[in-house]
C-alpha cells in the first residue's frame, strides 16, 4: 500500500562551514557544481505541494550556503508547504533573517553543540558558538517558531543541566535533546560519541525533571538512543511511507543514508516527476509493506510500529540490509550493538578536552580522537 508522502527533506547543499564530528551526511558529498538550480528546486516544491505534502525541511550541509534560499523558501511556502529551516545559523544575520521571515519561513531550528564556548567550537571544528547565541536573541524578536537542537553525546552529557539552563535563556518554544545517531561521520566517530549507561540514566532523570519544571513554557523532545533501547526506532516513519529526501543533485532518497545500501538505484527529479518516483521507483518500493521482512519481524506484533527498524543501520552493522535492525533486542544480530555498548561502558576515563583557553590549542590536542567532516570540492 502506498501512503501519501507528508514531508519533504530538501537537502539543498552539502557545503557547510562547520565540520561537526557527529554529522550524518554521507562521507561522499555532492560537489557544489552539481547542485540543483533555483528553478529545479521550485519545481520540486510545486510538485510536493500538488502531492499533498505538508512540510518542507530545509537542511544540508548548511542550507544558508545557498544564495537563493529566500527564493526557495518563498517557493515552498507558495506551494502550500510549512517551511522548517534546520541550520547552524552561520551565514545568518538579522537582516537576512528578516528577509527569510518575510518570504514565509515558519520555523527555524538552530543547533547548539554545548553551553561552553570552547567545547562547542571544538565539537563543531569552527568558531560558531558566539554567533549562534547572538542570532538566537535576534530570532526572538521575530514572529517565527524557534527550536534549539542540542546535540548530546559522551563528550558533553556530564554537564547536561548546565546546557539546559543555557538554552532556557535563549527562550525557544521547543528544545530537541538529540542523542547522536551513528551514520556517516558519526559512525566513524562512534567510540568517542557513545554515552555510558550511567550518563544516559542521569540524562533521563535530568530531562524528566526539566520537562516538569518547564511545562507550558518550553517543550522538550528527547528520545533514548536506539543502541540502549529495547526496540528499534521507526526509522523515517517507515521506508517510503511518509518522508522523502531530495539531495543536492536532485536524487530522491527514502532517507539520508540510503546510498550506503548496495544494489539500489535512485531516480532524479531532473528526469522524472516526484509523484512517479514516490510510487514506482525501485528504491522506494524495496522495503515498503512487509514482504521483505525476515523473521522475527515478519510475525512480530510490533512490525506495524517500528517496521523492523532502520535498513541502513542493519546494513552498516551486519552487511545485510534485510536483517532486523540490530538495535532491536529481538534481532539475531543484537550482539553487535551489545558489544558496542559494552565497549562504551568499559573505558574508565571519558576523554575530555583539556582546559585550554583558546580554540586552537584544543584542536591540536584532538586530531587523534576523531575525524572532522570535510567540505565538498
Amino acid at each position: 500500500m502506498v501512503f501519501n508522502p507528508l514531508a519533504l527533506i530538501a537537502e539543498v547543499t552539502h557545503r557547510c562551514p562547520l565540520h561537526c564530528v557527529y554529522c550524518s551526511n554521507p562521507m561522499q558529498l555532492t560537489a557544489a557544481s552539481n547542485e540543483l538550480s533555483t528553478e529545479e528546486w521550485i519545481s520540486v516544491f510545486r510538485q510536493a505541494g500538488k502531492l499533498g505534502m505538508l512540510h518542507a525541511h530545509f537542511t544540508g550541509g548548511e542550507p544558508l550556503a545557498r544564495n537563493d534560499l529566500t527564493e526557495l523558501i518563498a517557493a515552498a511556502r507558495a506551494a502550500g508547504l510549512y517551511t522548517n529551516l534546520i541550520t547552524s545559523g552561520i551565514g545568518l544575520n538579522e537582516q537576512r533573517l528578516q528577509m527569510l521571515v518575510k518570504a514565509g519561513l515558519d520555523h527555524i531550528q538552530i543547533s547548539f553543540q554545548d553551553s561552553r564556548e570552547d567545547a562547542a567550537n571544538w565539537i563543531a571544528g569552527t568558531k560558531a558558538h558566539a554567533h549562534k547565541t547572538e542570532l538566537s536573541h535576534a530570532i526572538r524578536r521575530h514572529k517565527i517558531a524557534f527550536t534549539v537542537n542540542l546535540v548530546v553525546h559522551r563528550q558533553n552529557l556530564d554537564h547536561l543541566e548546565e546546557m539546559i539552563s543555557f538554552i532556557e535563556q535563549l527562550q525557544p518554544e521547543r528544545v530537541e535533546i538529540a542523542h547522536t545517531q551513528y551514520y556517516g561521520w558519526a559512525l566513524a566517530n562512534r567510540a568517542a560519541l557513545m554515552p555510558t549507561r550511567a550518563q544516559l540514566e542521569t540524562a533521563v532523570a535530568i530531562i524528566r525533571e526539566a520537562e516538569k519544571r518547564l511545562s507550558g513554557r518550553m517543550r522538550i523532545d528527547s528520545v533514548v538512543p536506539d543502541y540502549y533501547a529495547k526496540y528499534p526506532k521507526a526509522c523515517m516513519g517507515g521506508w517510503g511511507r511518509r518522508l522523502m529526501l531530495v539531495n543536492p543533485s536532485g536524487k530522491v532518497l527514502p532517507c539520508h543514508a540510503a546510498e550506503v545500501l548496495p544494489g539500489l538505484s535512485f531516480e532524479n527529479v531532473r528526469e522524472k516527476s516526484l509523484d512517479r518516483i514516490w510510487q514506482e521507483s525501485e528504491s522506494f518500493r524495496k522495503f515498503r509493506d512487509e514482504a521483505w521482512m525476515p523473521e522475527p519481524c515478519r510475525s512480530c506484533d510490533r512490525r506495524g510500529e517500528d517496521f523492523g527498524g532502520c535498513r541502513c543501520q542493519a546494513f552498516l552493522l551486519t552487511g545485510d540490509e534485510r536483517a532486523t535492525d540490530p538495535a532491536c533486542s529481538l534481532a539475531p544480530a543484537h550482539r553487535i550493538v551489545e558489544s558496542a555498548v559494552e565497549e562504551a561502558n568499559s573505558t574508565a576515563d571519558i576523554a575530555k578536552p583539556a582546559p585550554a583557553s583558546s580554540f586552537v590549542q584544543l584542536q591540536k590536542l584532538t586530531n587523534d580522537l576523531w575525524s572532522y567532516r570535510t567540505n565538498p570540492e
Partner: protein
C-alpha cells in the same frame, strides 16, 4: 502552566498555522501536523486571539446543546491545556 480562565484569549502559538485542505484542515507546527476531528476543528477555529475562553465555551455550548455544558467546559479546557503544553496554542 494552568488551564485557561474565563478571560484568556486562546490563539495559535508563534509559528503555528492552518494548513491541509478544506475537508481536512489541520494545524501545522514545527516538524508536525495536527489532524483535527470535528469538535477540535470547531474549537481551534475560534481561537483567534480575540474571543475569550468564556465566549468560545458559550458558542460551543449553544452549538452542542444536547451535551452537558459542564462536560464541554472540562473537555475543551483539557484540550487547550494539552495543546499549550505542546506549544501549539497560547492563552
Amino acid at each position: 502552566m494552568a488551564p485557561p480562565t474565563e478571560t484568556s484569549q486562546p490563539r495559535l502559538a508563534t509559528g503555528c498555522r492552518w494548513g491541509g485542505t478544506e475537508e481536512d484542515r489541520m494545524i501545522l507546527y514545527p516538524e508536525g501536523a495536527l489532524k483535527l476531528q470535528n469538535t477540535g476543528r470547531q474549537v481551534l477555529e475560534r481561537c483567534d486571539g480575540q474571543r475569550t475562553f468564556g465566549e468560545i465555551l458559550t458558542e460551543l455550548q449553544k452549538e452542542f446543546d444536547k451535551t452537558d455544558p459542564e462536560k464541554i467546559r472540562t473537555d475543551i479546557s483539557m484540550f487547550l491545556e494539552q495543546l499549550q503544553k505542546k506549544r501549539i496554542v497560547d492563552y
